[in-house]
């Protein structure tokens, strides 16, 4: 079975062709960091107008790279939400139109389901598992019970982890993209140099809060500048990174203990952070748990994970009615 997956929920327009929920034949996206970097911040091609310009060539390119045509496709899956309505509508409506015109079954999937299942593009994982999805827009912990059953255990109450990295980079006047630059500086710094706060929230909470650590970095910089000290950028980056990672690791491990689960999966763009991977790997080793981290291209937004989530949802529930619409807030709770 060949599945065409289409994703347009936020900045990227992406499409992929997947065989049988495993083999990625192609995965194409529109993002180009070098175009945005001249703005000195994250200035994405986010307008739905751009999705509109991108969608046909991106889907064409995914089909061509996979060496097939629309006539070979057995299922079309598209992101239904959450995200910007205008952006979602481009991919979702395009997918519905293709489905209608070519007589191919159609299914809409939740963007988060894509991230939670992306690990299956590379590995066989046993259910249930605990997944941490950390990106620019999300920091959430889920209990994944099957390919179609997800329980939301914790989420951010203010800033997402990736957003904190990006904003700290901006405060320190590091170039875009912020996250990788903060990590790179952190490599040369001492993570214990500055005691930035860890927001644990209520004792039992699996929620996150990263707004405070961002403000703590800002206050630290103000104080240093007032006393005419040169900013130790490397130490600031390393200490900030440790503060964020410690909370992500601890809460995810706590969720696994709470639900008696021995497998942890990471997803989202922040999972590309090497220090985060190392910290999770160490912790899982210590606790006797298995860790799965997809390659970076499957951690960030992509069409293959949407095709994959669509494949399993279709097998469970069948095709979706063309009258279905997009939604801005996740239905996964």
């Amino acid at each position: 079975m060949l599945i065409l997956g289409i994703e347009s929920s936020c900045d990227d327009t992406a499409a992929a062709v997947l065989r049988d929920g495993r083999q990625v034949l192609s995965s194409v996206l529109s993002s180009q960091d070098q175009i945005h970097s001249r703005f000195g911040g994250v200035v994405p091609e986010l307008a739905s107008r751009n999705h509109l310009e991108n969608i046909t060539p991106i889907v064409q390119s995914a089909l061509e790279t996979a060496g097939c045509g629309l006539e070979n496709i057995d299922l079309i899956a598209a992101t239904q939400g959450p995200g910007l309505i205008g952006s979602l509508l481009v991919g979702f409506s395009y997918a519905k139109a293709l489905s209608f015109q070519a007589g191919i079954p159609f299914i809409g999937v939740d963007h988060m389901a894509g991230h939670l299942l992306a690990v299956f593009l590379e590995s066989d994982v046993t259910f249930p598992y605990v997944a941490l999805i950390a990106s620019g827009g999300t920091s959430s912990i889920f209990l994944v019970k099957s390919h179609t059953e997800f329980q939301h255990l914790g989420r951010t109450r203010d800033d997402a982890a990736g957003e904190a990295f990006d904003k700290v980079a901006k405060l320190l006047q590091l170039p875009y993209p912020g996250g990788p630059h903060v990590s790179k500086m952190a490599d040369a710094g001492n993570g214990q140099a500055i005691a930035f706060p860890r927001a644990w929230l209520d004792e039992d909470s699996l929620d996150f809060s990263f707004s405070g650590v961002k403000t703590a970095v800002l206050n630290h910089c103000h104080r240093e500048r007032q006393s005419d000290s040169a900013l130790q950028i490397e130490d600031i980056c390393a200490s900030f990174q440790e503060a964020v990672i410690e909370v992500l690791v601890e809460k995810t491990a706590r969720a696994a203990t709470l639900h008696n689960v021995d497998t942890i999966v990471l997803g989202g763009g922040v999972s590309s952070n090497l220090r985060l991977r190392q910290a999770f790997s160490d912790r899982c080793h210590k606790d006797g748990r298995t860790l799965h981290v997809p390659r970076p291209a499957y951690c960030t937004d992509n069409g293959a994970m949407i095709a994959l989530a669509g494949y399993y949802k279709y097998h469970q529930f069948g095709e979706m009615h063309h009258g279905e619409d997009v939604y801005s807030r996740s239905v996964l709770g």
């Binding site: 936020c10 200035v43 959450p82 827009g137 951010t156 800033d159 997402a160 990736g162 405060l171 961002k214």
Partner: protein, 166 residues
């Protein structure tokens, strides 16, 4: 253009002020929140949401990445953030202008990036960091109706203010 200037000396005062703004908000209001990173724009937005009766389990998070979050409340809250946008053409492309004229409250962080397309009748809230975690707020507007509304909000929050006319 009139401005009210006052100091929020603690997170509790920020909470009270934001809550009063939310209680006072009416359909079609546009609140524009500006100030540097860490000034407390999202924190104030959260307090406004509480005043607007957005349910507690609906976390009001930073919209920087998603650009727009919608929340149910006494009236809907459209929480926008232009941080990642470069100018007003992007706001127009996203179709956000129409939200300003719907029956909800629009709260915009980093609104200055698209000042030219904001409605004339809006409430500007410029936040600056002060000593000891305090915040200095400059509240500005052009429509005279805001005098009475702002005075009511500030007196409910127990805040002393200074008025600047220009």
């Amino acid at each position: 253009m009139a401005s009210y200037v006052f100091t929020l000396s603690s997170p509790q005062e920020t909470e009270k002020f934001g809550n009063a703004l939310g209680v006072n908000a009416s359909p079609g209001d546009v609140f524009c929140l500006d100030g540097d990173l860490g000034a407390g724009k999202t924190t104030l937005s959260q307090a406004i949401a509480r005043g607007l009766q957005v349910p507690a389990d609906c976390y009001v998070t930073s919209p920087s990445f998603a650009i727009l979050h919608e929340y149910p409340g006494r009236i809907p809250m459209y929480h926008m953030d232009f941080y990642r946008l470069s100018d007003s053409t992007e706001v127009i492309d996203l179709g956000f202008e129409e939200y300003f004229y719907l029956l909800g409250l629009t709260v915009i962080e980093w609104s200055k990036r698209a000042e030219d397309i904001l409605p004339t009748d809006r409430l500007g809230l410029f936040i600056e960091m002060g000593p000891n975690d305090s915040r200095r707020v400059t509240c500005s507007f052009s429509d005279e109706k805001w005098h009475a509304r702002i005075q009511e909000i500030l007196s409910e929050s127990g805040l002393q203010y200074e008025i600047l006319e220009k």
